[in-house]
């Protein structure tokens, strides 16, 4: 019980640290790929502190305020339900299906804030974001169902513990097709290139973020970082065997993220329609094939 309470407090802090570190790392790696020097690793931290302490803040009303708070709170609440290398404070109160739905709170908060910001660029961004989500959810859900049916459970803790025996028990080896499909849609889930059209700065003035400044922008940055953490944590739990402790868990997330950032660094931007067609073609076909194989072998 005491341990549970401690992990409840520790996990969000660790997640925030990891998330902000990843943000800094991605800027550094991207800069190096682009042959720039890049900002220091702790630059995002400086940015967030600067934005939070900014003198001038502009609000567009109550929905705008609460939406942006919900976007961070939803992310933090979701983290408590995702096992992270031995820490799983609330996993007994909600399984993977609960996590899939809790994950909605954070984008929903941002979408409400964007809608309330009374700027069409924000609305365009939200609409693009939702279309993107519709695109990647098809392969992602097919693959996730394959994992759940394979392990005959919906509990993330059990899915992790069933992969623990040896390296070969990792789903990435036992379920290669769903793992591949999820990996292919990972950039879309993280909204990085080639799928960054929802917040494209040049086309739609950063989309949902267009009216955000000061503390609002700080919250949105934290929300984005938490979202990255959640997506990577789920990928590691589902396909890479979770982690024996928080350190191995972190290293696995880092490995996945590193590949993602490299893709981000060299790819151009998809158009919305291209992205949707891509997501519903190869990743979906691969995930579907994986699911059919799982259904076949579990008979």
């Amino acid at each position: 019980m005491v341990q549970q309470v401690i992990s409840m407090i520790v996990l969000p802090v660790i997640a925030l640290v990891i998330a902000v570190f990843f943000l800094g790392l991605s800027r550094k790696i991207t800069a190096r790929i682009h042959r720039r020097h890049g900002p220091p690793l702790y630059q995002p931290l400086i940015d967030v502190v600067k934005l939070l302490t900014q003198k001038e803040n502009i609000s567009h009303g109550t929905i705008f305020d609460l939406g942006i708070v919900l976007s961070v709170a939803g992310g933090l609440a979701t983290i408590l339900f995702i096992p992270a290398g031995g820490l799983h404070p609330l996993s007994s109160s909600g399984d993977f299906l609960v996590v899939l739905y809790l994950m909605l709170l954070s984008p929903l908060g941002l979408a409400l804030a964007a809608g309330a910001s009374e700027n069409p660029n924000a609305s365009i961004g939200v609409s693009r974001k939702f279309i993107l989500a519709l695109g990647y959810e098809v392969p992602f859900l097919l693959a996730a169902l394959a994992v759940m049916v394979h392990f005959r459970t919906t509990s993330l803790v059990e899915i992790v513990s069933l992969q623990r025996e040896s390296l070969l028990n990792w789903s990435v080896f036992t379920l290669p097709l769903p793992a591949l499909a999820t990996f292919l849609v990972l950039p879309a889930m993280l909204s990085i290139r080639p799928f960054d059209f929802a917040g494209a700065p040049q086309e739609v003035a950063s989309g949902p973020l267009v009216e955000l400044g000061g503390k609002y922008l700080a919250f949105a940055a934290i929300q984005g970082a938490l979202h990255t953490y959640i997506v990577l944590a789920i990928f590691v739990d589902l396909y890479l065997g979770g982690g024996a402790n928080i350190l191995t868990f972190f290293l696995k997330m880092l490995a996945v993220f590193f590949i993602g950032v490299c893709i981000n660094g060299v790819m151009p931007r998809f158009r919305v329609k291209q992205a949707l067609i891509y997501l519903w073609k190869w990743p979906a076909i691969i995930a579907f094939a994986g699911l059919v194989i799982v259904m076949w072998t579990s008979r």
């Binding site: 939070l52 900014q54 001038e56 803040n57 502009i58 609000s59 567009h60 009303g61 929905i63 305020d65 942006i68 708070v69 919900l70 709170a73 939803g74 933090l76 609440a77 996993s91 007994s92 109160s93 909600g94 399984d95 299906l97 609960v98 899939l100 739905y101 909605l104 709170l105 409400l112 809608g115 309330a116 009374e118 700027n119 069409p120 660029n121 609305s123 365009i124 939200v126 609409s127 693009r128 279309i131 519709l134 959810e137 859900l141 169902l145 394959a146 759940m148 049916v149 005959r152 919906t154 509990s155 267009v210 000061g214 503390k215 158009r271 919305v272 329609k273 519903w280 699911l291 259904m295």
Partner: protein, 623 residues
């Protein structure tokens, strides 16, 4: 008051009040409105008193058939009756202001109360004859209520009525057949008789009944009446129609599959000796989820969008029930109640917006109304959260039960249909909320006021119910568990906050605590930072360009890029088929009219001709 008296009183009061309210309207409008609300509340109060009561009364003896007409109440009947009474009461309260300047109000309240009484009769019937009687009362009054506005509404009502009559014919056929087989109309007697029936006969009865109830419940491919009917009906009645009336179909499914033909017998049935009957039923549910939900995405009329979701959500109920595990059925039945609350709420929200904007329900015409109608906005937000099934709303718990049972029974493709249906829902309901309440407020709505009290009352009540059942799902699930027990299915034995840990991991109170705690922390940081300055809606960033004042809003063709990809695939081909069929049939009838001229002379000629043929046949000795 004893349970027996309360139970005896419900239906006489429900039917009697319709007449009383109609007559009182001739005296004064205020008296009529008061009585309508009062009498709509009575069944609700009586049913609250009847919680946990089971009983049976014979209310009429059909001595010539040696049968009696029976009413009965148990967990199954109580559950549906309460939902009906609640939604109808709130719809009538909502009507007070919504309908105030409309015509023929005596008739309107009469019909609303009668439809309520009819539905209560359906769920309380203890024999199939009463069931059919009340079913027909409900169906015919529904026709009158849909066509209330006249014009296009009459065409929509006619479409409904034709399909409804087809369903009634199928049901009548099944009832006649059951009576001749079992020799009784009593539900428990028929169930006993069916236990010795052949599988083929069971399948025959099931198919007829499912066709009939499926039309009412609008499952694909017999859903086509519903979008027109919902968008043309007045909003309070749309709430009743989509919330509870359509779900009488679900009550019927449960009645025929779990009471008349027991579930063990249903599980053994095969269609054409190949396909499991209950799996075919599940797949119908899955198709009913996916196709209508994505059609909803394309709608620009607020009520039409909701109507398509009404069809889609029915698919979840069918899917849960068809799977037939304790969790699946509990999920399906719970979803029926949840759907009633949030879809009624959303129709009322549209109604309130219509009321304040002089009948605008084109989503592209609205915008920014959250500033003017905050309570209505909260109602709309709660409604869409329930419809999506976001944690802490009731829709989440029922959907979770359905998903969980689908995954654990290794039906991933059905689970995928349910999950992706939810994504279609998210997209279209966000569009609904965004276009009405968010973005910039057009100047013509500068003087719009918040909805009046009676509308706010219904909206707030339903919002509270959505969160109440979302945080304490154990309340309704206990009744559902008792219902499962009476069906001969292992009861669910829920806890107050979810399901026992042996069945799965769900604890709504923990989720609530986690979300609230994080909201508090998040808000503390937000409040600690420098306070924000509120700006006008036109003080927004136009990417370096001038911001036009009146219509700086992105709403028309909101998901254009997705339409380009999916648009060609999600037309309602079934409706197109029916329209084609009707055109061809009209051509056929025109031809037929040339023979049947309506002229006495030609009729006589035909009779003489027929007699001549008969005589000739007789002479050949064929008779």
């Amino acid at each position: 008051m004893s349970g027996q008296t309360a139970f005896t009183l419900i239906l006489p009061i429900a039917f009697g009040s319709a007449a009383v309210v109609y007559l009182s309207g001739k005296i004064s409008a205020a008296l009529r409105n008061f009585l309508a609300v009062f009498f709509a509340a009575v069944p609700l109060v009586l049913l609250t008193a009847l919680y946990g009561y089971t009983g049976k009364i014979v209310y009429y003896d059909l001595s010539f058939l040696n049968q009696s007409l029976i009413l009965r109440i148990d967990a199954f009947a109580w559950y549906f009756a309460s939902a009906v009474a609640l939604i109808d009461f709130l719809a009538i309260v909502f009507s007070l202001r919504y309908m105030e300047d409309k015509k023929q109000l005596d008739f309107y309240y009469f019909a609303m109360l009668l439809v309520n009484a009819g539905m209560l009769g359906i769920v309380l019937s203890g024999d199939l004859l009463s069931f059919f009687m009340f079913w027909e009362i409900m169906s015919w009054i529904t026709y009158l209520l849909i066509s209330y506005k006249g014009g296009k509404a009459v065409a929509a009502a006619l479409k409904y009525m034709i399909m409804s009559i087809m369903g009634s014919c199928a049901m009548l056929l099944a009832l006649g057949s059951l009576y001749s087989t079992c020799g009784t109309f009593d539900i428990s007697g028929v169930a006993e008789g069916m236990s010795s029936a052949t599988p083929g006969y069971r399948l025959f009865i099931l198919l007829l009944m499912i066709f009939s109830f499926g039309i009412k419940n609008a499952i694909v491919p017999v859903h086509v009446w519903l979008p027109d009917a919902h968008s043309e009906a007045v909003s309070p009645f749309s709430a009743v129609l989509s919330g509870v009336l359509v779900r009488m179909g679900i009550y019927g499914f449960l009645l025929v599959m779990f009471v008349l033909v027991r579930w063990n017998a249903v599980l053994e049935l095969r269609i054409l000796g190949l396909l499991d009957f209950h799996l075919v039923f599940c797949w119908i549910g899955a198709i009913t989820i996916v196709v209508p939900t994505f059609i909803a995405l394309l709608q620009d009329d607020a009520k039409r969008l909701l109507a398509w979701h009404g069809i889609g959500q029915g698919g979840y109920m069918v899917l849960g029930i068809g799977l037939g595990t304790s969790m699946g059925i509990a999920g399906g039945v719970f979803h029926t109640l949840n759907h009633a609350t949030y879809i009624a709420l959303l129709f009322m929200v549209v109604g309130a917006v219509e009321y304040r904007t002089n009948g605008v329900r084109d989503l592209n015409e609205l915008g920014g109304l959250a500033k003017k109608m905050p309570i209505t906005f909260i109602g709309g937000l709660t409604g869409i959260l329930g419809l999506i099934g976001v944690p802490l709303t009731n829709g989440f718990v029922s959907k979770w039960l359905i998903y969980k049972s689908l995954v654990m029974n290794e039906r991933p493709l059905l689970a995928f249909a349910a999950l992706i249906g939810t994504w279609g829902t998210i997209l279209s309901v966000f569009k609904f909320l965004h276009h009405i309440f968010l973005g910039q407020l057009p100047q013509k709505y500068n003087n719009v006021k918040e909805a009046p009290f009676s509308m706010r009352f219904s909206i707030i009540t339903l919002s509270l119910v959505i969160f109440l059942f979302g945080i304490f799902p154990g309340l309704p699930l206990t009744v559902i568990s008792a219902m499962l027990d009476s069906f001969g299915i292992i009861p669910l034995n829920p806890t107050l906050f979810g399901v026992p840990s042996t069945l799965g991991e769900l604890n709504t109170i923990t989720i609530l605590a986690a979300v609230l705690a994080m909201m508090v922390i998040g808000y503390a940081v937000f409040a600690w930072a420098r306070k924000a300055r509120r700006t006008d809606q036109f003080d927004s960033y136009g990417a370096g360009a001038y911001v036009p004042v009146n219509r700086y809003q992105y709403s028309v063709r909101f998901y254009e890029r997705a339409y380009e990809v999916i648009g060609p695939y999600i037309r309602d081909r079934i409706d197109e088929f029916y329209i084609w069929f009707v055109e061809k049939a009209e051509g056929f009838f025109d031809t037929a009219r040339k023979i049947y001229t309506g002229n006495v002379n030609s009729s006589t000629a035909y009779i003489v001709f027929l007699l001549a043929v008969l005589v000739i046949l007789k002479m050949w000795g064929r008779f």
